[in-house]
């Protein structure tokens, strides 16, 4: 039996899961403040634009968006199977395409800032 190529995806799942465990809750808290009408200073256009214009800002935003997407996509694939949706190849294709598309989109948008 051949060895699996799953590590390529699982690597991004492990990295994305760890990263989003650390940062997703606080990011949600920030935009929750926006939703409640108390926009934090950092999220004002000029401040956030300056952050995203810096290479470190670009890199962090890309890492968070891309890895969280891959992590969520992989887990969603397993979850679909666990819920009884057995069209695994179709599910995998869709979720990984969304993650790949999202990662490329993040690069494109960040490069324009």
């Amino acid at each position: 039996m051949a060895k699996s190529n799953k590590p390529i995806i699982w690597g991004t799942f492990a990295a994305g899961g760890t990263l989003s465990a650390f940062v997703t809750p606080v990011l949600i808290l920030l935009t929750l403040l926006v939703a409640l009408g108390h926009t934090p200073e950092m999220l004002a256009y000029a401040r956030l634009h300056a952050f995203a214009a810096h290479w470190f800002g670009k890199l962090s935003l890309f890492a968070v968006i891309s890895l969280s997407l891959w992590g969520a996509a992989h887990r969603l694939r397993i979850t679909c199977y666990d819920f009884g949706i057995r069209a695994d190849t179709l599910v995998a294709t869709i979720v990984y395409l969304v993650a790949a598309f999202g990662s490329v989109a993040a690069i494109v948008y960040l490069s324009r800032i």
């Binding site: 809750p25 990011l27 920030l30 403040l33 926006v34 950092m42 935003l61 969520a72 666990d82």
Partner: protein, 134 residues
């Protein structure tokens, strides 16, 4: 012996759509797994935010304004709950995946998990400070 021995193994099928109702631990597992729906959706929201940011001030501010709705608040609260649950479940099992052996003994799992919680708290506070929330 009058009775003949015969083999006819009986297979009990696992119910495909409802197996996770069988035990509370399966429900906890599924709750952990569905956190990905909220984390994924929220990340897509972030991506939209970055897109709006790249389009200019007016577009970005329209995006912020669009976040101010009851639906958005409900989504954020749900996403916050699920993402905190994801964080807790992730850190709680980290010692299993990454045990640390110092000399002969293994570091107690609680120490590894505790260090992760501490790092999480420090990082979250740093982000909030940097964002000017306090």
């Amino acid at each position: 012996m009058g009775e003949k021995m015969s083999r006819k193994p009986y297979v009990r099928e696992v119910p495909k759509y409802s197996w996770f109702f069988r035990r509370p631990r399966y429900m906890r597992y599924m709750a952990r797994e569905v956190t990905c729906i909220f984390i994924g959706a929220y990340t897509l929201l972030l991506l939209v935010g970055v897109m709006r940011l790249s389009q200019g001030q007016a577009e970005y501010e329209a995006f912020l304004a669009a976040l101010r709705s009851p639906v958005s608040v409900v989504f954020h609260l749900l996403a916050l709950g699920f993402s905190v649950y994801n964080t807790a479940t992730w850190f709680n099992v980290t010692p299993k995946a990454l045990p640390v052996q110092i000399g002969e003994e293994f570091l107690p799992g609680g120490v590894i998990t505790g260090a992760h919680y501490l790092g999480w708290a420090v990082l979250s506070l740093a982000v909030l400070l940097m964002a000017g929330v306090f």
